[in-house]
């Protein structure tokens, strides 16, 4: 097995075009994406319903009425939870922002005061937070305004005037406080995305190309010679997997070192977690590459298919652009991609500063390992049927 692995590594480094594809092209793309996404913001609206998490600390009729009103809108899907859980969702990267209705909200409405609502957000998700806040502020102002007017007329005994819902006056009906629970720092979210997203996408291309080496061996006859040698046929595949894994890990490591040296990504503070995530991502991506190749009987069969599959996975999984830009159903589909778990894992390390033992980080590690192992198991069966079937 190791003999096969070392042979493959030697061949890999002797192929200048392969090295160019594996290292230089991704570096060029990282540079491009880093400039494109690093710190850039967006304000465009999304027609898809947004998941809105609300923590109701007031539990008054008014706060419940507000939640019910927001929930009745097509643009939001509301879920309520505690303040701690809501904050946790932001800290773990599961939500870009959450809304907190603080104690005293109902009293403030009834007394015609200025109730304070709070949006807790991840500063790294700036564009998504801005879109959510923009959509939310108008609605909150409208509903709080209505409630205040209702209280006023109820007190005076007169019915509220028809057609007037709220007064769009410059002075707002409420104060919307914004608190960042994850603040901007040296590792900008855009930079993390540029490095991790691009590195994973390019890694998928290069592992598929490396996997295709097996089909070349079949076409050139070396696979026949390997089969007639006394080694176990499974060792041929496992040897190939080892070499692809080692090269993948090296490739990812080079990408992050480049991100550190050129763009200041804080690699030195996260070495253990980074090594774990590099290992898991490389394992998962390598397995995907071998899996894709094991489907085919010739290089030509893989070439067209791989480009399409990898580009789709990269788009869905958030390698190319942050996933919140995409429609909700595509965001959900992204969860089945290697890219999603890898990118989120690197976010956990560099942006969210999650410790190694954090369940969210460990879950991503576990999912990547499971994806890799599952794909490997299928690949072994397919490989025996498609690639080893020389007769």
């Amino acid at each position: 097995m190791l003999t096969i692995a070392f042979k493959d590594i030697k061949i890999f480094f002797s192929d200048r075009r392969g090295l160019l594809m594996a290292f230089v092209v991704p570096i060029a793309l990282i540079t491009l994406f880093a400039f494109a996404f690093g710190g850039a913001g967006r304000g465009d609206e999304k027609p898809e319903p947004r998941q809105l998490v609300i923590a109701d600390l007031d539990q008054s009729n008014e706060s419940k009425m507000l939640i019910s009103s927001l929930d009745s809108l097509e643009e939001f899907v509301v879920k309520t939870t505690t303040a701690d859980s809501a904050t946790e969702l932001v800290l773990k990267g599961k939500r870009a922002a959450v809304l907190l209705i603080h104690q005293g909200f109902g009293d403030s409405v009834n007394k015609q005061g200025t109730p304070v609502l709070e949006i807790r957000s991840d500063e790294g998700e700036g564009p998504e937070v801005a879109i959510l806040t923009g959509a939310l502020f108008g609605r909150l102002n409208e509903y709080v305004g209505r409630m205040k007017m209702g209280t006023l007329y109820k007190r005076s005994g007169d019915p509220p005037p028809q057609g007037i819902l709220y007064n769009p006056q410059p002075a707002p009906n409420l104060e919307l406080k914004q608190t960042s629970v994850i603040k901007q720092k040296e590792n900008s979210a855009g930079l993390v995305h540029a490095v991790a997203g691009t590195a994973i996408m390019m890694l998928l291309f290069s592992v598929t190309a490396m996997g295709m080496g097996m089909l070349d061996e079949k076409a050139e006859g070396t696979l026949k010679k390997l089969i007639v040698s006394p080694i176990n046929p499974s060792s041929i595949l496992f040897g190939k997997m080892i070499s692809v894994n080692i090269i993948s890990m090296m490739q990812l490591a080079v990408m992050f070192i480049f991100g550190w040296l050129v763009f200041g990504l804080d690699v030195p503070s996260h070495v253990p977690a980074l090594l774990i995530m590099i290992f898991c991502t490389a394992y998962s991506c390598s397995s995907f590459g071998v899996f894709l190749v094991s489907f085919a009987k010739s290089r030509a069969q893989v070439q067209g298919m791989s480009t399409l599959v990898i580009m789709t996975m990269s788009a869905l999984g958030g390698s190319m652009v942050p996933s919140f830009i995409m429609p909700a159903f595509m965001q959900k589909l992204g969860v089945i991609t290697v890219n999603y778990w890898g990118v989120q894992g690197f976010y956990d390390i560099f942006w969210r500063d999650l410790p190694l033992t954090d369940p969210t980080f460990l879950t991503r590690v576990l999912v990547l390992i499971c994806i890799g192992t599952g794909l490997n198991l299928i690949a072994v069966r397919l490989f025996k049927r498609n690639v080893l079937a020389l007769a």
């Binding site: 003999t3 061949i11 010679k225 007639v228 040698s229 007769a391």
Partner: protein, 307 residues
């Protein structure tokens, strides 16, 4: 050393082997001779564990191939028809890799690689990448890579296809040397000269069946000791061939040539020439070929080896 019993193999509806059997003795040089598609490579493929037979058994060095494939693989060396090397590695790296798969220690391997490279006249180019080699040089390394673990049996599947005369001669010298040293060699070819030159025994295979086997002399006898008269000329048609056949001649037509077959060519040759003239053939060239594997094959199958 090798016993093949009733091997059958089909690829879909195409029957490649129809139940062939033969025995190869230790130290023997056994040739499998037949035209393209006759079943030679399938037979070698099965004996070298590359292809699973539908039915039948193969015993190699006392081990059943199906039950003990690893033991069988350890004693065989395989030279495939295609040049199966890593072009981006040097000759030494290729040989180190292929040799190590057979569990040869690195120190032994280095000695053997040096010996083998010298034997094949490639020692000076040992560190060059294989992709810089000529076709003949690649063929030589291809053979060398099958010898490093000192196999008892060497399977060679058309090892001289498409190479220059210098490399061909060098390969012949090595093959003869290995045979003299006692290695059992199974050699497939469609070049009758190679089979005649090297083989102790030859199996003639056609349409998945061994139609004759034995020493060269035995095969000549089985073929009726027939010589051939090859006539090249203008106006050779299928119609003329049919007419000549109905006149009682044994002959085939291939690429503007008529090949008559006769056990008594000296007597019948003038009549054959006259018959050709009468049929309207403009004779340009006449060649008499003594009894050889080509005429044996022609006599047994009615076809030429190159067909």
């Amino acid at each position: 050393m090798i016993t093949v019993t009733d091997l059958k193999k089909s690829y879909g509806t195409t029957v490649a082997l129809k139940g062939i059997s033969f025995t190869i003795h230790p130290g023997e040089f056994y040739g499998l001779l037949g035209p393209n598609g006759a079943g030679k490579s399938t037979t070698i493929g099965i004996m070298s564990t590359l292809v699973d037979p539908d039915t039948g058994t193969v015993t190699i060095d006392g081990n059943d191939l199906k039950k003990n494939p690893k033991q069988c693989k350890q004693v065989i060396g395989v030279v495939p028809q295609e040049i199966a090397l890593y072009n981006d590695l040097s000759a030494v790296d290729n040989l180190l890799f292929w040799g190590s798969l057979y569990g040869v220690s690195k120190s032994d391997l280095q000695i053997r690689i040096e010996e083998t490279l010298k034997l094949f006249g490639l020692f000076d180019r040992r560190n060059d990448k294989v992709k810089t080699y000529s076709g003949g040089m690649k063929r030589r390394i291809n053979i060398a890579s099958a010898l490093l673990h000192k196999p008892k049996i060497l399977f060679m599947d058309e090892p001289t296809v498409g190479i220059d005369p210098q490399s061909r001669n060098l390969i012949f010298e090595v093959v003869e040397k290995l045979h003299k040293e006692g290695m059992t060699i199974v050699y497939t070819t469609h070049y009758m000269e190679e089979a005649e030159r090297f083989c102790d025994r030859i199996g003639i295979i056609d349409n998945g069946t061994i139609i004759a086997q034995g020493t060269l002399e035995e095969l000549k006898q089985q073929g009726g000791e027939k010589e051939s008269l090859v006539i090249t000329g203008k106006g050779i048609t299928e119609e003329i061939v049919s007419k000549l056949k109905s006149a009682g001649y044994t002959l085939t037509m291939s690429e503007g040539e008529l090949t008559f077959l006769s056990a008594n060519l000296k007597t019948e040759m003038p009549k054959m020439i006259v018959a050709c003239n009468d049929a309207g053939i403009e004779i340009e060239h006449i060649d008499i070929r003594r009894v050889n594997l080509e005429t044996v094959f022609l006599s047994l199958t009615g076809k030429q080896l190159r067909d």
